[in-house]
């Protein structure tokens, strides 16, 4: 079963996600330049919203960090062990897993569930002496640093297997939704249950420039007649765009990733929908404050035949006498949904719900508009009943 979310969200002038030149990200679609917010940018905002918005408890979430040794050592110290021993054991444990260290950090970011770290700490406590004995030291011909970089720790297979078995995904919802890759331990990779498209503007955009000067407070008052110039000059790029966002979830894959726990899966789907609606990337927000919630959230539950509706906007939307940019975008979305249905049939459609500020434009999308709370509950119900039956 699949859940699809189609969101239309218009932002005030902003630069929420920028590229290497500090310009807002863009792409071309239908031969016109569009604003873009990358998939990874929104996914991170959603992940942050899971915890900061109180949508999911800490033990159901994961952290992405290179500081795994430090994080593990913190837990061991909290369990009462002395700090220097804890750090040695933590180092040995990470090396025993086959991960190489660069100083105190792992070579690349690891995405680890809270329960995985807790289980790893428990395994460290259980095999404390073996791990202390295996901690990298100056050995003949190799420094401790070289040993760490070689990624070796001579622990016996029982300890290594105990540590490996802790990396089972830890029933972390964000790991289950967004997946992970561990280059040194490919067996521990997790296939993402969700798919998040890059957000693309329905309208065409050209980047605008804010020419700014920063005034030197003291220079002004020094009465220096020769130089009335500003302390600093520069430009900041920004644009304002109405984004079409598309997110879907494979509920079967989500359930598999969460070890068959349907309660967690339901919580995960509800949290994903709420976070997708409220999460906003933070780029340049201190100077732009573009906190704009979506004007339309359209949820579809299907058992196959996913339909991304980006092609509703191949021809960029423009404000007209009959409607502003958002009104016309909503109308286009509805027309496109209808025309796909006309051509391809129901295509596994099980149900659809719309929450919107423009309740008169619901049209063909659903029978009548609902609130966001009702939408979240209805989608979770629709998916859960199927789970129970199968």
């Amino acid at each position: 079963m699949f859940v699809e979310l189609h969101i239309l969200q218009n932002f005030a002038p902003s630069n929420l996600n920028r590229d290497d030149t500090n310009a807002p990200k863009d792409c071309e679609f239908g031969s016109y330049r569009r604003a873009r917010i990358s998939s990874q940018c929104f996914k991170r905002a959603i992940r942050t919203a899971f915890s900061s918005g109180g949508l999911l408890p800490g033990e159901d979430l994961a952290i992405r960090t290179k500081r795994v040794v430090g994080a593990l050592a913190d837990r061991l110290t909290a369990a009462g062990r002395p700090r220097d021993e804890a750090e040695q054991v933590a180092e040995a444990a990470i090396l025993a897993l086959g991960l190489k260290l660069d100083g105190e950090d792992t070579q690349y970011l690891l995405f680890l569930g809270d329960r995985e770290l807790a289980d790893m700490a428990a395994a460290c406590l259980r095999y404390w002496d073996e791990l202390r004995a295996a901690a990298p030291v100056e050995a003949a011909g190799k420094t401790a640093k070289q040993t760490k970089q070689a990624g070796k720790a001579s622990v016996n297979p029982e300890v290594r297997n105990a540590l490996r078995s802790t990396l089972d995904g830890g029933k972390a919802t964000d790991l289950a939704l967004f997946g992970r890759m561990l280059a040194d331990l490919p067996a521990k990779n997790i296939d993402a249950a969700s798919q998040v498209a890059h957000a693309i503007s329905t309208n065409r955009v050209s980047t605008e420039f804010d020419f700014f000067t920063a005034v030197d407070d003291l220079k002004e008052h020094a009465g220096d007649r020769d130089d009335l110039g500003a302390g600093m000059l520069g430009t900041v790029e920004f644009n304002s765009a109405c984004f079409y966002r598309y997110i879907n979830v494979d509920t079967n894959q989500l359930l598999t990733n969460l070890g068959g726990d349907s309660g967690l899966a339901r919580n995960g789907i509800e949290a994903l929908i709420r976070a997708s609606i409220t999460a906003i990337p933070t780029g340049k927000q201190n100077s732009m404050a573009a906190h704009n919630l979506p004007s339309l959230v359209f949820a579809v539950v299907r058992d196959g035949g996913l339909e991304n509706l980006a092609n509703a906007f191949i021809q960029p939307v423009e404000p007209s006498r009959d409607g502003d940019l958002m009104v016309n975008s909503i109308k286009r979305l509805g027309e496109h949904f209808e025309s796909l249905r006309g051509m391809y049939g129901e295509n596994g459609l099980q149900g659809s719900w719309v929450a919107t500020t423009h309740t008169d434009l619901v049209g063909s999308l659903a029978d009548q508009p609902v609130t966001v709370d009702e939408l979240v509950r209805s989608v979770a119900d629709a998916v859960s009943t199927v789970e129970a039956v199968s």
């Binding site: 998939s39 990874q40 290179k66 970011l109 693309i200 894959q253 996913l306």
Partner: protein, 216 residues
């Protein structure tokens, strides 16, 4: 011999065959490994299962719309506080930088030639895919259905590619670029994109020929 046609169209696509580590490239048209991967997704065939039957199909691509190559500047993990001993902030973390190239606004028609009974199963899988389909990267879902209701043709790969209506709103009757898998003698290029194993990331080469042909 029959041919199954697939439409690969979306705001963003990426078909990389030469990437190493953080720099992710894209070719100018779909790769065989990418298309077979998409079919496996539709079938629900996981990456540690064999793909020889699919790799044996002969593939061709017609470029209905070239698109523009762009780069997505991706960073991870930067600008967070770095903690030293004693709980003091000693700096900020450095971002991992990964430039990822993609094709913007491109439309392709891909064809796979093989036995009809097998292509029929693939056609049905594309109509109701088991897993989410994507055009090279998971964040690039198709903008239009990959499945074409009249996509299963009882002709050769060349005939099928050159007779199907041009997609993506482009004008008919133009010369389009086609890249077709051929024998060594007729080919002018080699592509290292025939999947031997997705799990072990092993690929073999095939010979292709690039031509400019008119669509009937």
């Amino acid at each position: 011999m029959s041919t199954l046609l697939l439409r690969l169209s979306g705001p963003m696509q990426s078909w990389g065959t030469q990437s190493r580590f953080r720099d992710r490239d894209t070719g100018l048209e779909p790769s065989k490994s990418g298309v077979i991967g998409l079919i496996c997704s539709a079938l629900g065939r996981s990456r540690d299962e064999p793909v020889d039957d699919l790799a044996a199909l002969r593939m061709g691509v017609r470029v209905d719309r070239e698109g523009t190559m762009k780069m997505d500047w991706q960073t991870a993990g930067g600008n967070f506080p770095r903690w030293g001993k004693g709980g003091k902030v000693i700096g900020t973390t450095e971002a991992v930088i990964s430039p990822r190239y993609y094709l913007s606004d491109a439309v392709f028609l891909a064809g796979l030639e093989g036995p009809r009974e097998m292509l029929l199963k693939l056609q049905e899988a594309l109509r109701r895919p088991r897993w989410q389909l994507f055009l090279g990267r998971k964040a690039f879902p198709p903008g239009e259905p990959v499945y074409l209701p009249d996509g299963l043709r009882d002709t050769s790969l060349e005939k099928a590619l050159l007779s199907y209506p041009v997609q993506g709103g482009a004008a008919q009757g133009r010369r389009l670029r086609v890249v077709i898998e051929t024998g060594m003698d007729e080919s002018n290029e080699v592509r290292t994109d025939v999947p031997l194993s997705f799990a072990a990331r092993r690929f073999a080469t095939r010979n292709v020929r690039t031509d400019w042909r008119e669509v009937e």
